[in-house]
C-alpha cells in the first residue's frame, strides 16, 4: 500500500495545473469560479475550443480519436486541477463523457468519423434524451416513438431533464422503434440534429432559481436512417453501456469543488463565531471526515485498476457523496442562520452556501436516486434478491 502519485503523474499534474492557471488568469479570467451552468455561453464555447487546441478537451479518449489515451489516474488528476483552477463547468461534458464514449464503443466507423472529431474540437455540443415524464427511474418505460419513412427516422414524443439542450447541436434519444414493444425490448439509440422546427424546448426552472434543464418535444422530428447506434432494436444495451460511463470518472474529480465548499463552511463558522459551538464543531469534523473518506475511497477504486467491473466500494460512492453534500448544505444553514435566507442579488440568485443547500436536493435524485442506488448495492454488491417487476406499464 503506497500513498501519493508517481513522479510521472505529478509531472502530468504540474503540466495541467500550469496551463489551466495561465488560462484562468489570462484570456478566460471571466469564467473563473463561475458557478452557473448556463451563463456566458459564448465565452464557454471559446473555452472549449481553447481546451481542444491545447489537447486537453478529451484526454480520456483513445489517441486514434483525438484523445490522449490518459489513464484513469491522469483523468482524475486533470479533473482535480481543473476544479482547483476554478475553471467552469464543461458545456461539452455530455458529448465528451457520454456521446463520445458510446460512439467509440458502439458506433460504426462512419459514425465515429462524422461525430467524434467535432466533439473533440469543441465545435459540436450534445444533449441527452433519456428520461420522459413516465420513464424516470424506470427508464425501460420509454414511450417516444420513431418510425422509418424512406431514408429518415421520424420521431414523436416528449423527453425531460435534458440538460444544456439550449446550447446543444445534437441530441441522442432512446426511442421505441418496434411498434407494440414493451420494456427494454424494441428500443433504439438515435442521433438527431436538435435545431429543427419539429423539436421544441421548454426550459424548466429549478428550485434554486436556475434553468439548467429542459423539456424537449418531438413532433415529427427527422434524422437520417444511418443515425442509429448499435443497430435497430439494441437501444437498451447501448443505453446501459452509456450509464456505466456516466458513473465512471465523472464523479471522481468533483472532490475539489467539495473541498472549496467545505472551506467556505469553515470560514463561515469562524466569521459567525459558531466555531465555538461544540455541536457545530462536531458537525464540521464529521463533514471533514466524509470529505477525506470520499477521496480515500476514490483512491482505492483507482488503484484497483482499469477495466475492472464496478467494485463494491465504487458502487457505494454515489449515495455517499450525495448524502454528504446535502448534509454539508444543512450544516452551512445551521451556521449562517437567518443571514442564509437573504440575497443582495436580484432574480432569486443566492451565494455559494445557500445555493449548495438548495441545489444539493437534486444530488440524491439524478444519476440514479438513492433508492435505485441502494437496490444496485444490495443486488450487485451484496447478492440479495432482485426487485420483482410489475407487469402494468
Amino acid at each position: 500500500m503506497r500513498l501519493g502519485f508517481t513522479p510521472e503523474q505529478e509531472a502530468f499534474r504540474r503540466e495541467a495545473a500550469d496551463w489551466l492557471a495561465t488560462q484562468m488568469h489570462g484570456p478566460f479570467a471571466m469564467l473563473r469560479d463561475l458557478k452557473s451552468h448556463s451563463a456566458m455561453a459564448d465565452e464557454r464555447r471559446a473555452w472549449e475550443k481553447a481546451l481542444a487546441a491545447a489537447g486537453w478537451s478529451v484526454i480520456g479518449w483513445p489517441k486514434a480519436h483525438g484523445g490522449r489515451g490518459a489513464s484513469l489516474a491522469e483523468q482524475v488528476i486533470f479533473a482535480e486541477e481543473y476544479a482547483r483552477a476554478g475553471a467552469p463547468g464543461r458545456m461539452s461534458h455530455i458529448g465528451i463523457e457520454l456521446a463520445g464514449p458510446t460512439l467509440i464503443h458502439f458506433g460504426s466507423d462512419a459514425q465515429k468519423a462524422r461525430f467524434l472529431p467535432p466533439i473533440a474540437r469543441g465545435e459540436e455540443y450534445w444533449a441527452q434524451g433519456y428520461s420522459e415524464p413516465g420513464a424516470g427511474s424506470d427508464l425501460g418505460n420509454v414511450r417516444t416513438r420513431a418510425r422509418l419513412e424512406g431514408d429518415e427516422w421520424v420521431v414523436d414524443g416528449h423527453k425531460i431533464w435534458t440538460s444544456l439542450a439550449q446550447h446543444a447541436d445534437w441530441i441522442f434519444v432512446l426511442a421505441r422503434t418496434e411498434e407494440g414493444s414493451r420494456g427494454p425490448k424494441g428500443l433504439s439509440f438515435l442521433l438527431l440534429p436538435i435545431r429543427q422546427p419539429a423539436i421544441t424546448l421548454r426550459p424548466i426552472r429549478q428550485m434554486n432559481g436556475e434553468a439548467e434543464f429542459n423539456e424537449t418535444f418531438f413532433d415529427g422530428a427527422r434524422t437520417h436512417r444511418d443515425n442509429v447506434v448499435g443497430g435497430v432494436g439494441n437501444g437498451w444495451q447501448v443505453a446501459m453501456g452509456l450509464l456505466a460511463f456516466e458513473r465512471g470518472v465523472g464523479t471522481l474529480g468533483q472532490q475539489m469543488s467539495f473541498v472549496a465548499e467545505f472551506e467556505a463552511v469553515v470560514q463561515a463558522a469562524k466569521a459567525t463565531g459558531r466555531s465555538r459551538d461544540p455541536i457545530i464543531r462536531d458537525g464540521i469534523a464529521r463533514a471533514y471526515a466524509g470529505l477525506k473518506i470520499m477521496r480515500y475511497t476514490a483512491l482505492r477504486t483507482l488503484s484497483a485498476g482499469e477495466g475492472h467491473s464496478l467494485s463494491r466500494e465504487a458502487m457505494t460512492q454515489k449515495v455517499y457523496w450525495a448524502n454528504w453534500h446535502q448534509a454539508l448544505g444543512e450544516l452551512a444553514m445551521d451556521i449562517l442562520g437567518d443571514e442564509a435566507l437573504v440575497s443582495d442579488e436580484a432574480g432569486y440568485a443566492f451565494p455559494l452556501l445557500t445555493n449548495l443547500y438548495l441545489s444539493s436536493r437534486a444530488d440524491t435524485i439524478y444519476g440514479g436516486t438513492n433508492q435505485i442506488q441502494r437496490n444496485i448495492i444490495a443486488e450487485r454488491g451484496l447478492g440479495l434478491p432482485r426487485e420483482p417487476r410489475g407487469d402494468a406499464r
Binding site: S275, D282, Q373, R374, L384, P385
Partner: protein, 349 residues
C-alpha cells in the same frame, strides 16, 4: 500510487484469516474461561506466528513492518471477535513503550511483549492521580487481570508499573470478548517514561489498530446478516428480498466501505510518516467505531428475535462495538481533536 494491498500484505491477511477461522469455533468456551482468553491460542499467534512483532523494528527483534500490517491482522481478529489481549498489549501498550520509553525501558520490555511472554495493559482515566512519582486512584483496564505490566497514562505522562502487589479485580463485563478489570493504586511507585510527546502518536496508532478491528467486526456482522436474510423466509419470500431490509443492508455496506477506506489510509499515512497521520487516525477511529455500532445494531434488528438471544452471536458483536467505543477515547473525542486540527480555535482573519 498503489492504494491497495501488496502481495506480502495479502499473505499476512491470509495467514491471520486462516488461524482465526481455526479459533472461531472455540469462541464461546474461551469467553467463559476466567482469563477471558486462551493461552494456547495466544502462544500460537505470538510465539509461533510472530503476529505480535510485525510492527516492531528489526533492531528490536521485530519484522520491521508497520501499522498497515498490524491493522490487517487486527481486522481479521475483529472479524472473528477473537478474545485476546492482542489489541491492548501489542496494539496499544507496545507503541506507548516504543514512543515514550528510554532505550533501556524498551530493551527491558519490548521483545517480551512482542513475543507474547509478557502481557501489557493500558490504564488511564480521570480517576488516576500522580503525585511525587506515586499513583493513586483506580482505572478500568481491558485484560488488566492478566497483565504482567501496566502502562499508566496520568497527568499527561506515561509510566511503567508492574502488576505485582496491585489491587486487581476482574469484573463482570458487558463486552464478553474484551473483559475489564478494576485496578486500584494506593501511593503506588511508578517508573516514568521520559518522552511524553510520544503519547499522542502511540495512542493514534492504537486507535487505528482498534479501528481496523472494528471494520473487521462490522464486515463479519454484515456478512452474517446478509446470509441470514437470504435463509429466513417470511410471507413466502426470503426477508432479504424486501426493500426495507435491502436498503438497510446497502447502507451498512456503504458505511463499512467508508470505514475501511479510512483505516487503510490512516495506517498507510503512519507507515509513510505523512503530515496527515494524526488527522487520518482521528477520522479512522471515529468512523470505524460509529460504523461498527451502527452495523451491530442492524445485525440484531434484521435477525429479529433470534438476534436478541444469548445463543446467537449478534450480541457479542454489539457488545464488542460498545466496549470499543470507550477503549482509547470516544469517537466524539476524536472528532473534537479533528476540529482543533482544522483550526476552529483560531480567530477569523
Amino acid at each position: 500510487m498503489q492504494f491497495a494491498l501488496t502481495q506480502e500484505q495479502e499473505m499476512i491477511v491470509e495467514t491471520a484469516r486462516g488461524i482465526m477461522a481455526d479459533f472461531r469455533p472455540s469462541l464461546r468456551t474461551t469467553i467463559d474461561h476466567p482469563d477471558g482468553f486462551d493461552r494456547t491460542q495466544w502462544h500460537t499467534i505470538t510465539a509461533e506466528l510472530g503476529l505480535g512483532s510485525l510492527a516492531l523494528p528489526a533492531e528490536q527483534g521485530g519484522a520491521g513492518l508497520g501499522l498497515v500490517e498490524l491493522s490487517l491482522v487486527a481486522m481479521e481478529m475483529g472479524r472473528a471477535l477473537f478474545p485476546s489481549p492482542f489489541l491492548t498489549s501489542i496494539g496499544a501498550a507496545l507503541p506507548l513503550l516504543r514512543h515514550c520509553g528510554s532505550d533501556e525501558q524498551i530493551d527491558r520490555h519490548a521483545s517480551a511483549i512482542a513475543s507474547g511472554d509478557s502481557i501489557a495493559a493500558v490504564a488511564s482515566g480521570a480517576k488516576l492521580r500522580l503525585e511525587g512519582g506515586q499513583l493513586s486512584g483506580e482505572a478500568l483496564v481491558a485484560f488488566g487481570h492478566v497483565a504482567d505490566v501496566l502502562i499508566v497514562l496520568a497527568d499527561g505522562q506515561a509510566l511503567l508499573v508492574p502488576t505485582g502487589g496491585l489491587r486487581i479485580e476482574r469484573l463482570t463485563s458487558m463486552d464478553l470478548s474484551r473483559p475489564l478489570a478494576r485496578i486500584g493504586f494506593d501511593g503506588t511507585p511508578a517508573e516514568p517514561m521520559r518522552r511524553a510527546d510520544g503519547v499522542d502518536r502511540a495512542l493514534d496508532e492504537a486507535r487505528v489498530a482498534l479501528a481496523a478491528e472494528c471494520v473487521g467486526g462490522a464486515d463479519a456482522a454484515l456478512a452474517m446478516t446478509v446470509d441470514y436474510s437470504q435463509q429466513r423466509i417470511q410471507f413466502g419470500r426470503p426477508i432479504g428480498s424486501f426493500q426495507a431490509l435491502k436498503h438497510r443492508m446497502a447502507d451498512m455496506l456503504i458505511a463499512v466501505e467508508a470505514a475501511r477506506s479510512a483505516v487503510y489510509y490512516a495506517a498507510a499515512a503512519r507507515n509513510e510518516h505523512s503530515v496527515e497521520a494524526a488527522s487520518a487516525a482521528a477520522i479512522a477511529h471515529a468512523t470505524a467505531i460509529d460504523t461498527f455500532e451502527h452495523i451491530a445494531a442492524g445485525m440484531i434488528q434484521i435477525h429479529g428475535g433470534m438476534g436478541f438471544t444469548w445463543e446467537h452471536d449478534a450480541h457479542l458483536f454489539f457488545k464488542r462495538a460498545r466496549g470499543s467505543a470507550t477503549l482509547f477515547g470516544t469517537p466524539a473525542e476524536s472528532r473534537a481533536r479533528l476540529a482543533t486540527m482544522l483550526g476552529l480555535d483560531e480567530e477569523d482573519q
